[in-house]
């Protein structure tokens, strides 16, 4: 929520109500008691909403750029490289989700050539619906996950980035490289409160035909959600559980903390 709100904070309030109001406002990111111009918004509210929407739309439309988003140092250190799904443009990606779940022959060859197979942990980065989430979240998170995995004594594959990526690409990665656990760090659909929400979708030996039922998710990795250190710990703990149980998805304990039914935020799978 925004810094400069339009509300009548100057209006005289009974002391108790004012105190209660301030305490309650701090408990929600919702835009409350903003005042009105007739039956419409004050100009400040109107412009804040436009600004936050602009950030969200830009996050969806911006193309991922490895060096700009992650920095040359991280790209070099992790030997990051990029592949693309069958979607050829952002517009096609948005309209035809199934294209974002498959690689073409070129991408398959690049992955096979450059990544070792049969590792314990394979990490991939997907732009998903927010390149901004990836740019903001990955640089801190990726080294923590790689270092932590190595401390567990796991073999870690070479990380790559996927343009126009949907969650279902996990299955293709599993088919190509046969790792034990795959972690996909992917940008979620941006809202107005944050456009930078990253998720980690994880699966044990994913292969064709697997669905969300075989996957686990750690969502809301962003500044006002789960910080990188905590996210890395949860990813590593979940990977260890998967390796031990030799399965993933509904059978594994760390699950979504509950999903809203009714209007259910559709994730980018």
């Amino acid at each position: 929520m925004s810094k400069k709100s339009s509300i009548n904070r100057d209006a005289p309030l009974p002391a108790v109500a004012a105190k209660a109001l301030a305490a309650l406002r701090a408990r929600t990111p919702a835009r409350l008691v903003v005042g009105r111009a007739g039956p419409s918004y004050r100009t400040a509210t109107q412009l804040e909403l436009r600004e936050d929407h602009a950030a969200a739309v830009d996050a969806v439309q911006t193309e991922m750029d490895l060096v700009r988003d992650f920095g040359q140092e991280l790209v070099d250190a992790c030997e990051l490289f990029e592949v693309r799904t069958l979607a050829e443009s952002k517009a096609e990606y948005l309209k035809r989700p199934q294209l974002g779940r498959q690689f073409g022959p070129e991408a398959q060859a690049a992955i096979r050539e450059q990544c070792p197979g049969n590792v314990d942990l394979q990490i991939a980065i997907g732009d998903g619906l927010s390149a901004a989430a990836v740019a903001t979240g990955v640089p801190a998170l990726l080294p923590l996950v790689i270092d932590g995995a190595q401390q567990h004594g796991w073999s870690v594959g070479r990380t790559f980035a996927i343009r126009y990526c949907r969650v279902g690409i996990l299955n293709e990665i599993g088919e190509l490289l046969a790792p034990r656990v795959v972690v996909l760090l992917v940008g979620e659909r941006p809202g107005l409160v944050t456009a930078e929400s990253l998720s980690a979708y994880m699966a044990f030996r994913p292969r064709r035909g697997h669905t969300d039922a075989e996957r686990n998710l750690i969502s809301n990795i962003h500044a006002r959600g789960i910080p990188p250190q905590r996210a890395a710990e949860r990813i590593l703990a979940l990977a260890a559980q998967m390796m031990q149980a030799e399965t993933s998805g509904v059978a594994i304990k760390e699950q979504l903390p509950g999903q809203a039914i009714g209007k259910q935020a559709p994730r980018i799978s």
Binding site: I7, N8, R9, A11, P12, L13, P14, V16, A17, A20, L21, A23, L24, R25, R27, T28, P29, A30, R31, L32, V33, V34, G35, R36, G38, P39, S40, Y41, T45, L49, R50, D52, H53, A56, V57, A59, V60, L94, K95, R96, P97, Q98, L129, R189, P190, G191, L192, V193, A195, P257, G258, Q259, A260, I261, G262, K263, Q264, A265, P266
Partner: protein
């Protein structure tokens, strides 16, 4: 039976009614995703021309999904009013469209034939109608429902307050709700989508909303939009339920993917009706169900069975109307661009859904909304809001500044509801309006409160909260 028609010398054939209905649909990315859409604009028009010649009797005789395999199809067949259908049976879809638009076909007439019209007939008519046609016919029909207040009358526009919170914080939810009440919204329902689908969470939200209604005296109903089984489990533990919510879809398989069947809905409704008899509330009616729907939901569950998303949506209304709901709304832009690509498709779908729901007898509202990866923005929402208000839509959503901080999508705001009431001279539900005037929020039928931040209702929040956390 195969259908065919010729457009500009080019002949198009359609294998069966299901294919014909799909190809006659206006352009929707979801039908393209399902690979059932017309391949060209010429084919689309050819399908419309062929559909215009099909009689309603033929539609009735050819279910798009076999009733032997689908309980929604069986419901449609079993609830059909054959007597009232007599005068419509021989109309073609093209003639039916004109009959609907005819000035002689008034509200009473449309009311008499609502159970003679099947969802597939409503969908077929929608496919031949322009956006303005959809507004014109819907505007004839008012479907009035009652629970703690009376909704849907001519000149009434209600708003559902949707005070969601990303972590279900009761203080945040209640402050959002009070803020909305101070704009005159919340007469349709104060309805919270929980972030966490647990019985404890749902029960605590229901208790808090019930207390808010008790303390404020606002004549409206509350709802926590969890899965039906979670709500009933909360009821079992003593939580008060005004309205029982469920998302519904137009095929048995899609409903199964939601974890429900018609039996689930029937049993739930009966339990809530019984629960209401035990509560000390001045009910003014017995419409105890609330349903949400939306084009594309069957396809997203891979349960559309080759039926286009408009026809599937109409069938969801057959499910809804079997349970006398207080509220039904399509959530029109929520599902994403793979089903409704952009503002144009969202607008069209909103008008179609509202028209079909009204025609089938439902108290139709609309969550006019969009997600940030669709080619739409707040202006898109405002445009459809005006169109649907002109069409006589029962209610819209009231979300703080239109920004749902839990579901990460944009809908309509408290301000938007106030604006539509002003623009079209509409009022809140009458019982609710009387309360608003008594509490100094409205005067002479209009929103009059200038300084919501100093209204005593905010001061009462602390006591509601203290009770809620003690619960």
């Amino acid at each position: 039976m195969p259908y065919q028609s010729t457009v500009r010398g080019e002949r198009f054939a359609f294998a069966d009614l299901r294919e014909l209905l799909a190809k006659a649909n206006e352009e929707k990315s979801g039908d393209e995703l399902a690979e059932i859409a017309a391949a060209s604009q010429r084919e689309r028009v050819a399908a419309k021309r062929a559909l215009a010649e099909v009689t309603l009797a033929e539609i009735l005789a050819n279910p798009v999904i076999d009733p032997d395999n689908d309980e929604v199809s069986r419901l449609i067949v079993d609830s059909h009013d054959a007597a009232a259908f007599a005068e419509l049976a021989n109309l073609t879809v093209g003639e039916f469209r004109e009959w609907l638009l005819d000035d002689a076909t008034d509200e009473a007439k449309l009311h008499d034939v609502r159970w003679a019209i099947t969802p597939e007939m409503a969908a077929a008519a929608a496919k031949l109608m322009s956006n303005k046609d959809l507004v014109l016919v819907a505007a004839k029909i008012r479907n009035v429902t009652r629970l703690r207040n009376t909704l849907g009358q001519r000149c009434v526009l209600a708003i559902r307050l949707q005070p969601n919170h990303p972590a279900d914080d009761l203080g945040g939810i209640l402050l959002s709700a009070v803020d909305g009440l101070l704009y005159g919204t919340g007469d349709a329902v104060i309805g919270v989508n929980p972030a966490i689908e647990s019985v404890d969470t749902v029960a605590s939200i229901l208790h808090a909303l019930d207390r808010l209604i008790g303390v404020s005296g606002a004549p409206t109903q509350h709802c926590c939009l969890a899965h039906i089984t979670t709500q009933l489990a909360a009821l079992e533990r003593g939580a008060p339920i005004d309205l029982l919510f469920q998302s519904v879809a137009g095929t048995e398989a899609a409903n199964a993917s939601f974890g429900i069947s018609l039996a689930t809905l029937r049993e739930g409704r009966e339990r809530v009706l019984e629960h209401h008899q035990r509560r000390d509330v001045a009910w003014v009616g017995q419409n105890v169900m609330y349903f949400e729907t939306g084009q594309g939901s069957a396809l997203s569950a891979d349960a559309h069975q080759g039926v286009d998303q408009l026809t599937c949506e109409a069938r969801a209304y057959a499910v809804a109307r079997a349970f006398d709901p207080l509220l039904v709304n399509t959530v029109v832009g929520f599902i994403g661009p793979e089903y409704l690509l952009d503002e144009r498709q969202i607008t069209r779908a909103g008008l179609e859904d509202h028209f079909m729901g009204k025609l089938l007898g439902l108290p139709m509202g609309c969550d006019v909304c969009y997600t940030n990866h669709a080619a739409a923005d707040q202006n898109s929402v405002e445009n459809l809001l005006v169109l649907l208000t002109a069409a006589g839509c029962n209610y819209f959503m009231g979300v703080p500044c239109g920004d749902d901080v839990m579901l990460s999508y944009q809908s309509t705001s408290y301000h938007d509801g106030a604006a539509m009431r002003k623009l079209f001279g509409l009022s809140p539900a009458p019982e609710f309006l009387a309360w608003l005037e008594q509490r100094g929020i409205f005067a002479d039928g209009q929103l009059s409160l200038a300084e919501p931040a100093s209204h005593p209702l905010l001061g009462q929040l602390e006591s509601v909260l203290a009770d809620s956390s003690a619960n």
